[in-house]
Symmetry: none
Subunit: 224 residues, 2 copies
Amino acid sequence: MRLLIIEDETALADALAEILKQNGYLADAVYNGLDGLAYIRTGVYDLILLDIMLPGMDGLSVLKTIRRERIFTPVILLSAKSELSDIVNGLDAGSDDYLPKPFSTTELLARIRAIARRGQQYSEDSLDFEDLSLSKNTMELRCGKNSIKLGLKEFQLMELFLRNSHQVLSKDLLLSKVWGLDAEADYNNLEVYISFLRQKLNNLGTKTCIRTNRGVGYSLEVNE
Amino acid sequence: MRLLIIEDETALADALAEILKQNGYLADAVYNGLDGLAYIRTGVYDLILLDIMLPGMDGLSVLKTIRRERIFTPVILLSAKSELSDIVNGLDAGSDDYLPKPFSTTELLARIRAIARRGQQYSEDSLDFEDLSLSKNTMELRCGKNSIKLGLKEFQLMELFLRNSHQVLSKDLLLSKVWGLDAEADYNNLEVYISFLRQKLNNLGTKTCIRTNRGVGYSLEVNE
DNA sequence: AGTATTTTTAAGATTTATTTAAGGTAGTCA
DNA sequence: TGACTACCTTAAATAAATCTTAAAAATACT
């Protein structure tokens, strides 16, 4: 989950970025509307925190511009009390939520979670490959009438394999995606989980398997 | 579809009206209870958004009054966190739904659509799943000939489970819906209430249960 | 005000997930 | 072949999430 903060008070912007990072998000901060617009257009952000009062191009213009460009990344407007009337315009222009300053970090985090959840609602529940189907909702892996519950790490790994079947995923890639970039996990952690997954795949009786590509990584394939 | 907003914060009231118009509804706003009552009595509205705290005549009195007059226009109560306890009374008095402030516009629109779908009729009193039945009026949970009274939070939780059976509801979702978006409650609060509910489900002898989906949330299921 | 009820807090018990570690297997290459 | 390396498997140790309970605090009721 990657967030963009557009806020001209640099101290506040950086503080927010810091808080968000501590809460497991990726966060970038820019300090004016034009930079914000450029960053948004990269399309890598999942959520934008947008101050209304900004030098150069104000927040509402940014919002209107991106919506006109059919960019529907969720936006939470940040506004001082005196700008309350702007909220009307903000909501018109297509913001998803607003947060009057000053706000508590708890509240901000709750709103972010709420928005994040909403985004997920529109996505498919299940990921499929051959006879396998993984439910994102229940974290259950199914093959025909058999199904088995996966733990969090097993689930994240399986998700990567299903999204990238037939492709060799390096151990480093898998480790960084599942354990995090700065994790202290070593290859053995991953190997243990590959072993767990193989056992479960076996029990399900699937025709797929996780193949070892020695020196490179693993890939999800069809047997034989 | 014509909506009436009764809300004393004029900025918010107007903002809401604006949003609703943007979304294809007709919307009027009034800023106190007595005006609201007068507008309702015209009978032209399909849905009323009613703030609880109002100058002059408060929201609950308005609601009770119109229901006594056999006006069954659906009502969504808007309430600040501090007025949360009024929700019980609101449900008793015949509100169809309630929305704790602050709420997101998406959520409001979703609720309106839900009510609109239900049609003009005064909403169903009970929510059912398998052998369970929850009465919105008395907040009693029934299973066959046994029934048990739920507290407000138990009720709200159970309502969510009944409306979304078989689906895993994340802890964050449950917390934000029941304790509010900006709640300071932690997971343990929820866990305690899940425990309470499980005890009551047990005492009722239902064949349903609340299943833990570790790392994700809870879901209402049939046993075994 | 006093009692009952609901909600929060806190701590210990329990269950489950994750890491660690050690010994085994199997490719690779001189 | 034999030494080396990458990889596999398993069990035990550790850590984390969740459950349960009781008591304290807040709130509603009479």
